[in-house]
Amino acid sequence: MTVAPTLAVASLRLDLGHTPILRGVDIDVMPGEVHGLVGESGAGKTMVGKAVLGIAPAGARIRSGSMTFLREDLIAMPERRRRDLLGRQIALIPQDPMTGLNPVLRIDRQMTDPLRLHLGLDRPAAAAKALDLLHQVRIREPERVLRQYPHELSGGMRQRVLIAMAFSCRPQLIVADEPTTALDVTVQRQILRLIKELQETAGTAILFITHDLGVVSKICDRVSVIHSGRILESAGVADLFDFPQHDYTRALMRATPRYDRPGDLLQPVPADLTARLIAEAEALDA
């Protein structure tokens, strides 16, 4: 018997209006696995995440393909069932911690509302749990932070709050959309370590979206490379770095700074390769 993937996306095609955005996305995220989705800006990474959560913008239409969460069909799922899963079984860590928290609500309210909705906790129990969660993401003076508004917290603190919220109902799957991109480098490393630690403790599966192969090498077990809405290659992290199969993967590696070889000259992805990939992708649109 084989283990069912936590998330299985197969041959997913999605249009926004009449523009094809995703042109064949296949990703299996296994239980407890951190699965990287790596590609340049505009490749469609965020759209994959939004499609999985069912929060794609108005005008987005799934043309074909399938998405299942623990064998349950995510596309045909009734709205009510989806709302029950979101926040409880499937959670999101956003890219920009500065805009991800509601500016007029105290952290307390923002953390306890989902706990009360999904876990049925009463107000004091939810507040106690929120405090505990802030401890877990190693926020100092959590009692004070709970009483504060987002604008009173730094970017790193806000991202810790958002991470705590994502893990709060012990979800099976977290979509993390470039969770460290908006942070400065030292904070980035702390946040990555924190996510990895929480993920390992809880055994959560994560679809980890990033444009940075360096980040992939630190946190992911498997990785899929995406360009123009197409998955070009999927592999275990070690295999991908040692034996990249696709030209684009190799080009992406040459464009990524490496800690072990800091002197290397970085080369941008060649324009003719990008042009070829776009032409191939558009050939699929017919």
Binding site: D96, V104, Y149
Partner: protein, 335 residues
């Protein structure tokens, strides 16, 4: 909001009020129509007229008149009404609660109606709710308050006589509130017959006043809600499985009210200004109704007093609106 900020705003009100005093004082003395002649009629003797002019100080140079008036105002003396022969301050204080109650009630109606329409438009976008909300606010913006008032009078006075179209309370009830606040006091002391009568008399003028403001609030709230709904934290709220109604009401509304308060704030003062005409149309015994009588009679002290009162009301209203903005927005509350 800090006490220092409040103090600064109050200090700024002083030159504003002084300017209002000067402008009204000068205007009333350059427009044609002699108050004393109006008062005694054309048959009075020259000596009588001269004596009255002296009594009210109209014989002195305008600058001297102003200094005397300013001195009186600073001591809380607004003079004596020419036509009513009573203290202006007492007359105003008798009528002010009536206009305040009407204005506040109308504002509450406008806020409630405008917010419901704005939320409806965003909660049910496209055909259903948005169409209804846009239709209502379009009508509300196209037709001014006094035209609504006239239509209500035709409708309720002639076709469906459900609500009273004139006066403030059924005089047979003989209810005289000590505070001057008919609605509040009748409710507080449990005079429910009086309360019902006051409320039913208030509905039509208040709704006429409220409709244009409600329409503006609905429009502004709709567009700011639409803007807020595109924000990341709303997407995150959706990703937490909250229902759309909950997201609109609990996550988006307060954020959207911040620009709405800023942009519609001045419209609240327009509503208070609108009471002048609306009270006249519904024979509502408030400050506005008295203002029109005072103007017709060239009752200069009374006009001056009423204009000053309206100016104070506008300034107070603006302060309240600013405080609301600060209450809604935690980012300006600190520091």
């Amino acid at each position: 909001m800090s006490a220092g900020y409040l103090l600064k705003r109050l200090l700024l009100a002083i030159p504003t009020l002084f300017g209002v005093l000067v402008v009204v004082f000068v205007l009333l003395r350059v427009v044609p129509g002699d108050p004393v002649t109006m008062m005694v009629g054309l048959t009075a003797s020259e000596e009588d007229i001269a004596r009255l002019r002296e009594l009210y100080g109209f014989d002195k140079p305008i600058f001297t008149q102003f200094l005397i008036y300013l001195g009186d105002v600073l001591q809380g003396d607004l003079g004596v009404s020419i036509t009513r022969k009573q203290e202006v301050l007492g007359l105003i204080l008798g009528r002010l609660p009536v206009t305040l109650e009407l204005s506040l009630f109308a504002m509450a109606v406008a806020l409630l109606g405008g917010m419901m329409l704005g939320v409806l438009a965003v909660y049910r976008p496209g055909r259903g709710g948005e169409l209804v909300a846009d239709g209502f606010s379009g009508l509300g913006l196209a037709i001014p308050d006094f035209l609504w008032a006239l239509m209500f009078i035709l409708l309720f006075g002639v076709l469906i006589p459900l609500l009273p179209i004139s006066g403030q309370i059924d005089p047979r009830l003989g209810f005289e509130p000590a505070s001057g606040f008919y609605l509040f006091e009748s409710l507080l002391i449990g005079e429910f017959a009086a309360f019902q009568s006051v409320l039913s008399h208030m509905v039509l003028p208040a709704v006429a006043l409220a409709i244009p403001l409600a329409a503006i609030i609905a429009r502004i709230l709709k567009s700011s809600l639409q803007e807020v709904m595109t924000q990341d934290y709303i997407l995150l709220a959706r990703a937490r499985g909250f229902s759309r109604l909950r997201i609109v009401l609990r996550e988006a509304l307060q954020n959207a009210l911040i620009p709405t308060v800023t942009l519609s704030g001045v419209q609240f003062t327009f509503l208070v200004g609108g009471t002048v005409l609306i009270e006249r149309i519904f024979s509502y015994p408030g400050l506005g109704n008295m203002a029109i009588e005072a103007v017709i009679n060239r009752d200069i002290p009374l006009i001056q007093g009423i204009v000053l009162t309206f100016a104070v009301m506008f300034i107070a209203l603006n302060l309240i609106i600013d405080s609301t903005y600060v209450l809604l927005n935690p980012r300006v509350r600190h520091g």
